[in-house]
Structure formats: C-alpha cells, structure tokens
C-alpha cells in the first residue's frame, strides 16, 4: 500500500464523515419541523422535560445554535434522555438493543455471504444444468419476498405449525428463525451476484492463461477466479448492512427480539423523538461506515483499480 492508497483512504473517510454529518443535520432539522418534537416549544410538555431540554440545548437560542449544541453532545456520546422509557439515556438503550441486533445481524450477514458465494460459484460452474436452474429459480423467488413476508411465513411454518423452533427471541434457540429470516434475502442476492461475477471472470483471458499453464480446474476456480469474483460481493457489504439493519426492525418485531429494530419501532409508537433521532443517527452511521469499509476492502482486494 502506497501514498496514493492513503490519500484515497483519507478522501473516502472525509466523504463518510460528511455523509454522517448530513444525516445528523437532516435528522435534526426534520425533527425540528415537527410541532410535537422535543425541539419545538409549541406543544405543552411536562415542565421537567422542558427544563432539562432547555438547559441542554437552549430553546431560546437560534436554531443553528441548538443544532450545534445537539451535534456537540452527540460527539460526546450523549444522545439525550429517552421520553418513552423514562429514566434511561438514549445511548444506554441503543447499546442494550444493539447487543442483540449485532448478534443476529452479524450471523445473518456472515451466513449470507458464505453461502451466497458458495451457491453462486456452484451455479456458475454448473451453468445451464439442472442445479444452476434450481438455484436461479430459488434465488429469484427469494429476492421477490419482502422481509416481513419471509419472517412471518417462517414463523407460521416452523414455530406455529411444526413447532420445531421457538417463536420468541428470548427462548433458547429463539434467534435461529430471526437469523434465517434476515439472511435469506441477502444470501439470494449474493448468490446471483457471485454467479454472474464468476461467469464473467471465467471468461477472462487470465483464466485461459491459467488453464493453458496446466493448472487444475479446481485450483483455477479457487485460486485464480475466486479472488477476482469477490469484488462485487464486497461492494454489496454496505447495502447488505442497510438491508439487515432495516430488516431487523421487522424481524425483531415478529419474533419479539429486544433488539435495536424493535426499540426503534417502539419509540415511534411512543413518539419518543429523542430515541428516534438517536437510533436513526446510530444506524445511519453503521451503514455509512460499512460502505466505507467495503470501498476500502474493494481496493485492497483488487490492486489494479484506479485510486482516484
């Protein structure tokens, strides 16, 4: 890795930070426009809440100053107090929920990538044969099913009808169904991505060179092709993160997992605006960071990519 790479890294990081800043700004100003928001003093609130908020962000001050105050507290890890779960800070609630969501999300993401790469490669190598067609039909069906449909059907079949797995997240083995529900869509997506990427790479000249050298077919695929096919999958890391985090809102509700997703939907029901803001900013930051990591990995894996 050379100076050019670090320059790219720096530029990309700056971009990510700018995007995070933008999300914070959008969140703040959208919330500020709501009549019932904590930043608006129009509606009657309990005196204690108003006093606490006023001390912190200063309602009497102009809006930009309030924004800077909010930004400043966020930078210190302070997302304010929850009004829906009185007595808790937003950041504590987020951390509490995230420990569940991270567990489900990480497993689901890993499962999706590993299985997707394997199935996609198999489909490409079996191109046009029965197995390829089966994989194509299944993945096409899976990417046409919204997460809530997938999760509810899995719940209905495996928990309610067959009784094989628990329906609640807090029971032993209760996270299996949420993980499967979350991983199926990205797995199908990665499979399709990997299939077309593998087909593309197998048609490249350097694969022909490897075969002409007398390299074994399996080694051609696992050494020469696989590394080159992974770039599209890596760029999918960010969007996948976004899918899993937003999908967890649905899945955690369906399987009653006390994760960040359920916290988010519940804070909407309780109109806990501080919570909504906090979770939005937190999730957005995760997605943007994942996009950033994906972009950097992409350049690391494929050295020929122009660093501009």
């Amino acid at each position: 890795m050379n100076a050019k790479f670090y320059a790219y890294l720096f530029k990309r990081l700056l971009m990510a930070l700018l995007t995070i800043f933008l999300v914070i700004a959008i969140t703040f100003f959208v919330m500020h426009a709501i009549p019932a928001s904590p930043f608006s003093s129009e509606k009657a609130k309990s005196d204690a809440v108003i006093a606490a908020l006023e001390a912190k962000y200063g309602f009497d001050k102009p809006v930009p100053v309030q924004f800077l105050n909010y930004l400043w507290s966020i930078l210190h890890g302070d997302f304010g107090l929850s009004t829906g779960w009185v007595g808790n800070t937003v950041i504590d609630l987020i951390i509490g929920g995230f420990s569940y969501s991270a567990q489900i999300g990480f497993t689901a993401g890993l499962l999706a990538i590993v299985l997707g790469v394997v199935f996609g490669s198999i489909a490409a190598l079996q191109r046009g044969k029965a197995l390829d067609k089966l994989i194509q039909v299944l993945t096409t069906a899976l990417v046409s099913m919204p997460s809530f449909v997938m999760a509810t059907i899995l719940l209905l079949v495996f928990a309610l009808l067959l009784g094989w797995l628990p329906s609640m997240g807090n029971q032993p083995g209760g996270l299996i169904l949420p993980v499967i529900s979350l991983s199926l869509y990205p797995m199908a997506y990665v499979t399709r991505l990997q299939r077309s990427s593998m087909l593309d790479v197998l048609g490249q000249d350097y694969i022909r060179t490897a075969r002409a050298k007398g390299v074994k077919n399996t080694k051609v695929i696992f050494k020469h092709a696989l590394k080159n096919t992974l770039t599209p999958v890596i760029t999918y890391a960010g969007p996948m993160m976004a899918y899993i985090l937003t999908g967890s809102m649905v899945v955690e509700n369906i399987f009653s997992v006390p994760g960040l997703g359920r916290l988010f939907t519940n804070s909407m029901l309780r109109t806990d605006y501080m919570m909504i803001m906090g979770v939005t900013i937190f999730l957005a930051t995760m997605i943007i960071l994942m996009n950033f990591i994906g972009d950097i990995l992409y350049k690391v894996v494929d050295p020929r990519i122009d660093l501009t």
Binding site: R127, L202, G203, Q204, D205, Y206, R208, T209, A210, R211, A212, K213, G214, V215, K216, N217, H224, K227, N228, V301, D302, P303, R304
Partner: protein
C-alpha cells in the same frame, strides 16, 4: 517423425442458433525446430485451432472429430488430468492481449512460480530462482524487483515478455503464439519477434505462429498455412506462398499488403465482401462468394488440396482448370507452377 501431427481436425461451437463450424478439417505437421505460420483473417479458425490443440476450448466449443498427435501420442480423447500435464509443460501458449492475460490480483512472481511448480519438483525457493532466471532470459531488467509487482504495473511489451517467460519456464517442445504482437506497438512488436526467434534457436523448440500479419510471417516462418473459414486454402514454404501464391485468397492477401520497395504508387487492393457465416457453410469453396474469378464449380463443390509444387499445396479449382496441379507430391527438381493469370 514429426513432433506434432494434426489430422482432419473439426471443432465446432454448439450455440443456441446452431453448430458453428469454426475449424473444418485442418491437417498439418510440425517438425522439430521449425516455425509454422498460420495466417488468416479474424474468424478464420486460427485461434480455435490453437485452443483445440491445447484442449482449452470453453463451452459450447468442442472437438468434433480428428486427431492430434504429439510425438505420435494421440491427444484427442485424453483425460483432463492427462492434458493438464501436457499444457504448459510440453506445449505452451501465449495470447494476443498481454494486458488481460495475466491475473490482476497476483504478483508476476506468483504466476511464474505456479507454472514452474506445476510441472517440476522444484521447491518454492528454487521455483523463484528459476522465475528470476526466466525473466532475465526474456530481457526484463531488475527481475528480483519485478517478481513482486502486479501486471498493471508493467508496460504491454513487458507483460508479453512475462507471458513468454511463463510459457517457456518448463522448456516446452512446442510454443503456440496466438497473435503475440497484435496488441503491441510496432517497435515493441519487432523486439518480441526477435526475442522469440532467438529463444527458439537457444531452446530448440518448435513454434506455431498464429497471425493475420503477413509481415510477421515473412519475418520468422519456415512454413505457412493460409486459413479461410475454418479450412486450409493454401500451404507451403514461406517463399512459395509469398512468391507463387496459388489461391485467389492468398493473392488477395498479398495485394492488400503495402509494398514499400515499389517505386511506383501501386494501389492496395482490398478483398471485398465479408467472410461466410459459419453457421451456414455453403457446399462449395468458402471463398467463392468473394472471389473475382469464381466459377460455377467453385460454388458447388469444395476443392481438394492439390500439389502445385514440391512443398506447396493449394485448394483452388482454378489450378485444376488450368491443369496446373498434381495429385501426388511431385518429384524433386520439378519446377514450381507459375502463376496463371
């Protein structure tokens, strides 16, 4: 006995629209230490012939029939594992585009080492030493540094040198060069050709030079095969082909080369029309639809290859019409048939 003997090779691509007959009855022999040129325009089946010999055709292409013998040993029908031991070891190939023929995600050294370790018992360290030696041999400066570089860090000419080094690392008997200079600058072209010739003398291998460039043929080939639409039009020594072309297509090719030594401003004559659709091969001579002198028979029946000199064969009805060919190889001392305009 010749080193490589190809007999009546047929290779087709089975596409959804039908069978594309890319190679249609190719036969030739290659002797030790010789350079055989295969010339023809795009789509004439030159590259497919090379891939057939190496058996690196990709779906939906496959050898339909014919025989390919290396040192008298039949290659057609050999298992993938047996062929794998021949590729890169007994027969090597270098490709047209050095830009895309090296894996972008591995270092040059890694790819060279792989070729060496595959076919020898050398350890990783010995293989690396051999890789450096090979890079030196093909004229790459600072080989110790280069082996840690990636293909994208090298120029086109350097990459083609690396390809040559890789192909020759196991000292193959035959090197197939599939348009090795087409993608390079003219000055680099000359250097690469020179390098190949000098290595051929040094290592004593045979070369099959596939090209559409008559200049390359003239420069390095002993024998020449002119291919058109998957079949052979004419073959012979380079001299015979250049000075006494006996097929309308070859003559067309000759007329389309600029001749710098000519004082007069002679016009270049292009060959008009487009090659036939290999999905629907007509019954006659494949060149007939584009041939100015085509006769009725040319459209109906495919001409056989007849001898037109001691080391010269041509498949053209015009020679038959003019009575200017032999059914058997003429004895030594027979004069070359003259051009019959």
């Amino acid at each position: 006995m010749s080193m490589l003997e190809v007999k009546d090779l047929h290779t087709s691509f089975f596409t959804p629209s039908g069978e594309v007959k890319a190679v249609n009855g190719l036969s030739f022999q290659l002797d030790k230490g010789k350079v055989l040129g295969i010339v023809g325009e795009s789509g004439s089946g030159k590259s497919v012939s090379a891939y057939s010999i190496m058996q690196i055709l990709t779906n939906p292409g496959r050898i339909v029939s014919g025989s390919i013998k290396l040192h008298g040993e039949e290659l057609v029908g050999k298992s993938e594992e047996e062929m794998r031991k021949i590729r890169g070891n007994k027969i090597s190939i270098i490709f047209q585009d050095p830009m895309t023929s090296l894996n972008p995600t591995f270092t040059i050294g890694n790819q060279l080492r792989e070729a060496i370790i595959l076919h020898t018992d050398r350890s990783k360290k010995e293989a690396e030493a051999r890789a450096i030696e090979m890079l030196k041999l093909v004229g790459i400066s600072e080989p110790e540094k280069r082996i840690h570089q990636y293909a994208y860090e090298l120029s086109g000419g350097m990459r083609q040198r690396v390809m040559i080094a890789m192909a020759l690392a196991c000292e193959p008997d035959i090197l197939i060069a599939d348009e090795p200079t087409t993608a390079l600058d003219v000055t680099i072209q000359a250097q690469i050709l020179e390098l190949m010739l000098s290595l051929q003398k040094e290592l004593g291998m045979s070369i099959i030079m596939i090209t559409h460039d008559m200049g390359v043929i003239a420069q390095i080939c002993d024998e020449v095969i002119v291919m058109y639409a998957g079949g052979v039009c004419e073959r012979g020594t380079a001299d015979a082909i250049f000075y006494h072309p006996m097929h309308e297509y070859t003559r067309g090719l000759m007329r389309s080369i600029p001749d710098m030594s000519d004082d007069e401003k002679t016009r270049l004559v292009p060959i008009t029309g487009t090659p036939i659709d290999l999905l629907h091969v007509p019954p006659g001579c494949p060149f007939a639809p584009r041939c100015d002198r085509a006769m009725k028979i040319c459209l109906q029946e495919k001409p056989k290859e007849y001898w037109v000199g001691r080391d010269h064969l041509s498949a053209c009805w015009m020679n038959v019409k003019n009575g200017a060919c032999y059914e058997e190889r003429p004895e030594e001392g027979t004069v070359e048939v003259e051009e019959n305009d």
